[in-house]
Amino acid sequence: MRWKGLVLPFVLVACWELASRADLIPLQTMSRPSDIIAAWWTDLSTGVLLTATVQTLQATLFGFLIATAIGILTGLFVGLSSTARLMISPSLEALRPVPPVALIPLSLLLLGFGVSMEAAVVAFACVWPILIATTAAVKASDPRLHEVAQILEFNSFSYARKFVLPAALGRIGVGMRTGLGIALVAAVTVEIVVNPRGLGYSLIIAQQSLHPDSMYAQLLWVGVIGSTLNYWLMKFDHRVLRLYAGRALR
């Protein structure tokens, strides 16, 4: 029963509203749900919310695309050539444990405030699942197909394009979807910490300018965006998986 899941949130919000009206909860720190909804509507209708959302999504997508390009290319390279793997993998493994947030100050230093700096950090954060998925997908390719390609004298590039890539697409897709989820989180994080753009920044502004109702409204809005994205990604996953599993079985 889907409606069972709505019981608890509804009850919590109702209690919160009532407790707030009974002056049990300080309004400066925890706004009333009714005020939050009002603030959300205001922010939405003045366009503030949408502008910030677009900015965040811009950086998210920009960084994600960079990560996809780098991730897939590097993954193909490392997955196909064992020499490349021996030469590059250890360096990659040394970079991977660096927490993406640690690169925020560096990115700020090199690129200044703005979209690029944010996209750079986002790209670093979400390249890893894509890279790993691509490497694994490529390595899992059928050696028999490789032999066929060699006999037919395909060069490495053609081999990659015609044989390896199509088969690996499913797995890479999963890596990409994981990466996209990470990308959004990374973008918001950069905005919270330094970048004067997007939803993260407007959250900080709302908090610092003592508009808690606006802040909570935007926090919930970020949650809505995050869970909606997540929901679509999961649905996409299932559909692709079914399609793919069907094809693989033939």
């Binding site: 360096s91 040394a94 444990p97 640690a102 100050p105 989820g181 989180v185 949650g223």
Partner: protein, 252 residues
């Protein structure tokens, strides 16, 4: 083996050498790309003067507190929800909403509620890190071997006993995997909180270095965090190996 070690060093050595030459030769702006030797000096300076250990300790402590709290809550809640069939129905939408929420987005609210304090840090870090453990526990508990449930029923084990002796241990693989991911998230959030709330630690160090245009310290700080992240993961993996040695022993 020697060959693979040598090969792995080729690329970084070449890059670092090229960087060093370009920086010393004035081809690179040293404000943004200081020579690796200066980064190394800065790093060494931190270690030699002992200035590294304070911030390192603060960051580790903060990360561990948040991670441990997240693990305890995650395992506890995960096992309670996982063993009750109906609990998940009521909680699913809330979980599905909170899980993808960027934990850093919580920071302004946390500051509003707790100010720039350790409690705020703990709240943010544990909120973000709880999910992998919680979901891992849930998954592990729901996948428990039905035969073990029957054995517990025959032995007339109390629900608490069953959870503690059978259900949670049977989920240990999923739980440990979740805890490892949680640790990585805890580190990230610790750095974020330090940067955001100006709390002493490695995160604050690199942000300050950026503000004061001290790029060697900046790079040094990144290196330290990278090594710290790698070490904590290795240590956790080693502990996991020990606790799960039952999985790795061979038939005599």
């Amino acid at each position: 083996m020697i060959k693979s070690v040598a090969l792995s060093l080729v690329v970084p050595t070449l890059l670092l050498a090229a960087w060093q030459l370009a920086a010393s030769g004035g081809f690179l702006s040293v404000a943004y790309f200081p020579a690796p030797s200066r980064t190394f000096d800065a790093l060494w300076g931190l270690i030699a003067t002992g200035a590294l250990w304070g911030p390192l300790g603060a960051t580790s402590l903060r990360m561990l507190e948040g991670w441990i709290l997240a693990s305890i809550l995650g395992i506890g809640l995960g096992s309670l929800i996982g063993s009750s069939g109906s609990a998940m129905e009521y909680l699913q939408p809330i979980v599905e909403f909170l899980r993808p929420l960027p934990a850093s987005a919580i920071i302004p609210a946390a500051i509003l509620l707790f100010g720039l304090s350790n409690e705020m840090a703990l709240l943010v870090i544990s909120f973000g890190s709880i999910w992998p453990v919680l979901l891992g526990t849930l998954h592990g508990i729901s996948a428990i071997e039905p035969r073990l449930k029957e054995v517990s029923a025959t032995l007339e084990m109390s629900p608490a006993s069953y959870l503690y002796r059978v259900a949670i241990p049977s989920a240990q693989v999923d739980i440990f995997t979740g805890m490892r991911i949680s640790l990585a998230i805890a580190l990230i959030l610790t750095v974020v909180v330090e940067m955001q709330a100006a709390q002493p630690g490695l995160g604050q160090n690199i942000l300050l270095a950026q503000r004061m245009y001290r790029s060697p310290e900046l790079y040094a700080g990144i290196v330290v965090l990278g090594i710290f992240g790698a070490c904590s993961d290795r240590i956790l993996t080693a502990m996991e190996m020990r606790l799960m040695r039952w999985k790795h022993v061979r038939k005599r």
